[in-house]
Amino acid sequence: MTDFFLILVSTALVNNFVLVQFLGLCPFMGVSNKLESAMGMAMATTFVLTLSSVASHLVYHGLLAPLNLEYLRIIAFIVVIAGVVQFTEMMVRKTSPLLHQVLGIFLPLITTNCAVLGVALLSLNRESTFMEATIYGFGAALGFSLVLVLFAAMRERIAVADVPRPFRGAAIAMITASLMSLAFMGFTGLVQV
């Protein structure tokens, strides 16, 4: 139980996928203009990340490893992720058309979110068990959601600030992200996993 909690803290805060490992920066920059769409994206990504972490764990240990096809893992994981994203998109469209409209193109783009593939591969590297892989994916998703939502709220404020013209838009967003990354360095050493 303590192990699971440590994995959760480690992936969500100490080794945050966006601010410490610099994965998944595209949706982090792309969908953080408005708080509402960021929240929708955070929920969708949480769902996809957890599910794809579990699914790729099963595919690897149930299919690839027994058949000695480990070298196909990247292709296999991408197919699994694409399948999970498609499933999520269908589900969101049926259950909440409004959220589907808000998220628009970004929903299918979760497929290309490098954090999703990164979680699957990194969880493989640390040789986690089934439950650990689930918690690992969920923790990564929590960290991603936390940072994305807070960043979106901050960007709404910066959008109305009197930023010097050369720094407007993406430039100041990158600087903000770097300062946030600086703050996350404070979590260093909190847990060793």
Partner: protein, 339 residues
């Protein structure tokens, strides 16, 4: 901001009394650089520098950064910190009133990560005129970066929080204190400095420059957490008094966390903001890699402030409480538009 500067005087005087001239060189250098850089940045944006300098905000950021640095820091260290504080954290975001992060703490955190050795060499408290105290000349040599590295080591010691952090796991707290791990008078020096910050904070409260919400919430959260930890395992966690009067807790609570620009604005938001800072400080102090964490905790919560503000806006009189978050039910929208 003038009165905030006045409120820092007791703390600066007490620091100088215990740690020598190095505090004065720090504060003067950082303040001078901050004012110069502020004038330069305002000038670059085509505005009148003298008008911008009149509010003393850059001066205050510089003074706060100078106080946080180890006494007798070299000029280049202070320069790097001030550039990060005034240019990056303040003016790239649009200048006074629009910076989402506390400028002084951005400078401090950047230095702590980039130059960990220089940033953890606190002079041992030799006093201003003590037998082994550094003279003003020695301090200026250090300031110019000309002092030999070996002379720096003999002069500096760990702060109480730092020493306690690196206590071996097997050593009990009582044995640790009995072994006299700190330079003479270190604990007393840090305590009197903390009380001087408390006096400055009382002046800020009396002049109504800050409200009580953030400092009380932050110190209260720290008190509750330390009491709990101390009650569970007094041999490995510091006592509440040790944590509250050690390190930057009181300085941070009254002078750093209460920065009106980067802190939360509503009363409820301030309570959440302060309490979260206290919790993060204790989390990093007792489990993280850094001995003190006020800078990191404040930056982390600065990052969360727009979100806190969004959810803690007070209800306007005569209006219903606003609905926030994602609206998945379009009927809600229609109901709002009805007269």
């Amino acid at each position: 901001m003038g009165w905030v500067l006045v409120a820092t005087f007791p703390g600066i005087l007490m620091l100088t009394w215990h740690f020598g001239w190095g505090v004065i060189t720090n504060v003067v250098t950082a303040a001078g650089l901050a004012v110069g850089l502020e004038a330069l940045m305002v000038r670059l944006r085509g505005r009148a520098p003298l008008v911008a300098l009149r509010d003393n905000s850059a001066l205050l950021s510089g003074v706060l950064l100078g106080i946080s640095l180890p006494p007798g820091s070299a000029w280049w260290l202070i320069l790097v910190g001030t550039v990060a504080a005034i240019v990056v954290a303040k003016h790239l975001f649009g200048g006074l009133g629009q910076n989402p992060f506390n400028p002084a703490m951005v400078g401090y955190a950047l230095l702590l990560i980039s130059f960990p050795v220089a940033m953890t060499q606190w002079l041992s408290p030799q006093g201003l005129f003590g037998p082994e105290a550094l003279s003003l000349g020695d301090v200026l040599v250090r300031w110019a970066g000309l002092a030999e590295a070996s002379s720096l080591d003999s002069m500096s010691g760990a702060t109480p929080l730092d020493a306690f952090k690196h206590k071996p796991e097997a050593v009990m707290a009582s044995e640790f204190w009995a072994s006299d791990p700190l330079p003479a008078g270190s604990l007393a020096a840090w305590r009197s400095v903390a009380l001087a910050w408390l006096a400055g904070g009382a002046l800020l409260l009396y002049k109504r420059l800050i409200t009580w919400h953030i400092p009380i919430a932050m110190l209260g959260a720290m008190l509750v957490l330390t009491t709990l930890l101390y009650a569970i395992d007094p041999s490995h966690y510091g006592s509440p008094l040790f944590h509250l009067l050690g390190g930057a807790a009181l300085f941070g609570a009254f002078f750093i966390a209460t920065d009106p620009v980067s802190a939360a604005t509503s009363r409820k938001g301030k309570l959440y903001y302060g309490a979260a800072i206290g919790i993060l400080v204790m989390l990093i102090r007792s489990a993280g890699a850094y001995p003190d964490a006020v800078a990191f905790a404040v930056l982390l919560m600065n990052f969360a402030v727009p979100f806190i503000d969004y959810y803690t806006q007070p209800r306007t009189y005569g209006h219903a409480a606003p609905q926030r978050g994602i609206r998945l039910d379009p009927i809600d929208d229609d109901q709002e538009r009805l007269p």
